[in-house]
């Protein structure tokens, strides 16, 4: 571990490139997240925003680039990652919330949230249970601890998925279009939870189509276009004075 500057970034991505075959979908993207940052990544579909997010915890291996999390560095060249610690050690410091929730359907709400605590954090069942119950309450689902995911609405499932990520006490949480698979009337309950997380100072990187969230909740907005960062800045300046034609058109289309 490299000694850390407390005000420095807890997560850095440097010049991330990713090709699928001949198609380069990420053309050198860099991003720094400091503690308490809420970064919204916007972009049309196909702009590479989900792929970029998935490169941060190596669900997708970049073709080249560097990811630094809490001083641990993973350097990728020609699709070959070099890392000082096992990939699992990096992943457990980053929570992830998926578009399709991806709860383990054969386990109850409580078991879903306890799973990582027991089998990754190696906590005792009793301790895992009390931590899990705490976070399930945090997302307002204490009534449903024994329900299976299949018996919950999409919004409830996504809140469980958020509790599952939170319970691991990650340094940052990655959200991959967390509301895109939800019926419109269920979007609000998930956004409300996310907003409250932002308010308590959690570090979040959010790929989203929710303009209101990007504008009102995030501390920084990044606009991707064809695999490149076209614009970034605070939401106020980004939305007040969009610089590129593409971002102007993107805002207008939403």
């Amino acid at each position: 571990m490299i000694p850390m500057d407390p005000s420095g970034p807890i997560l850095s991505a440097i010049d991330i490139r990713k090709s699928f075959g001949d198609v380069e979908v990420l053309k050198g993207i860099s991003l720094d997240a400091k503690k308490h940052d809420v970064i919204s990544i916007l972009g049309a579909s196909g702009s590479g925003k989900s792929t970029f997010l998935r490169c941060l915890n190596f669900l997708e291996t970049p073709t080249s680039g560097k990811v630094i999390i809490h001083g641990d560095e993973i350097n990728v060249q020609n699709g070959q990652p070099k890392m000082s610690v096992p990939i699992e050690d990096i992943r457990k410091r980053l929570g992830m919330v998926f578009q399709q929730f991806n709860l383990w359907t054969h386990r109850t709400v409580l078991e879903n949230v306890m799973e990582g605590l027991i089998h990754v954090r190696k906590k005792s069942r009793g301790e895992a249970r009390s931590i899990a119950e705490n976070y399930i309450e945090r997302v307002g689902l204490s009534q449903r601890v024994d329900a299976y995911p299949g018996h919950l609405s999409g919004g409830q499932q996504q809140r469980v998925a958020i509790a599952r990520a939170l319970a691991m006490e990650p340094d940052a949480i990655l959200f991959d279009e967390p509301t895109s698979a939800l019926d419109p009337e269920l979007v609000g309950e998930v956004l409300k939870v996310m907003q409250s997380l932002a308010e308590e100072g959690r570090t979040m990187i959010v790929v989203t189509h929710e303009m209101a969230f990007a504008r009102e909740v995030s501390s920084e907005v990044v606009f991707l276009h064809q695999g490149k960062v076209l614009e970034k800045g605070t939401p106020d300046e980004m939305f007040a004075t969009p610089k590129s034609e593409e971002f102007k058109r993107f805002i207008a289309s939403m």
């Binding site: 699992e88 992943r91 457990k92 991806n102 383990w104 054969h106």
Partner: protein
């Protein structure tokens, strides 16, 4: 003798045969069940080089009659007696029970491998990604996510395979193993009363029915997360 008298005088032998059939089936299915998930894993995720021997093995077993496989091992091993003695394996092959078990294991492993491959490939990738993202190791993902789902998917097909194995175990009687079929033939050659065959059929039917009943109960328990809510409570 009427059918009842036959059973009254020969039930100890039939019981003995039943136990042998159960032993052949359970031992065969369990050993195959311990090997097949790993072969299935190679078959679904391994490199082409690793997959090839498994493919050849599976297609050989599926493409030849189990009776032929049994003769191949039982009579074939006799041909190689000196070599097997040298290797210290003759004691194993001398016993027809061992030959039968070996064939049933080889047979059932091939079928169970294919069944489990289907199960493993049916696991929702999103759930595997969630497990990776939370920091689970490969082994933990297998144990906590992939196998639990794969077995749920494969469960009904596995029951079918075990029933087929149980019925195929009757072939062991041909190489002098005294299972239900072996005892039945022995009794018939003494009494020339065919009703003992009806009894044998009844015993096979009873074993199958009990097995299906138990297997189905486990299936309902495994699937309580996808049953309608009211039933889900009733089962647990």
């Amino acid at each position: 003798m009427n059918p009842i008298e036959i059973m009254v005088s020969y039930w100890p032998r039939m019981l003995d045969g039943t136990l042998m059939t159960l032993k052949l089936t359970i031992l065969g299915a369990l050993i195959a069940g311990a090997i097949s998930p790993w072969l299935a894993l190679v078959r679904s995720h391994g490199s082409l080089i690793a997959q090839t021997p498994i493919r050849i093995y599976v297609s050989f077993v599926r493409g030849t009659p189990i009776l032929a496989q049994l003769f191949l091992v039982f009579y074939g091993s006799g041909q190689f007696r000196p070599e097997l003695m040298e290797l210290g394996l003759w004691n194993f092959f001398r016993d027809p029970f061992n030959c039968a078990i070996l064939v049933f294991v080889l047979n059932s492993t091939a079928y169970q491998t294919e069944i489990m491959r289907g199960g493993i490939q049916g696991v929702n990738l999103g759930e595997i990604e969630a497990a990776k993202a939370i920091g689970m190791t490969r082994m933990t993902i297998l144990r906590r996510v992939i196998f639990p789902h794969a077995y749920r998917i494969a469960w009904p097909a596995l029951s079918n395979e075990i029933i087929l194995l149980m019925k195929a175990s009757a072939l062991a009687s041909v190489v002098t193993v005294f299972d239900i079929m072996g005892r039945t033939r022995q009794i018939f050659s003494k009494t020339f009363d065919f009703s003992i065959y009806l009894w044998a059929a009844l015993i096979y039917l009873a074993i199958t029915s009990l097995f299906v009943f138990g297997w189905h109960r486990i299936e309902r328990r495994l699937n309580r997360h996808i049953l309608p809510r009211n039933n889900a409570n009733a089962v647990s």
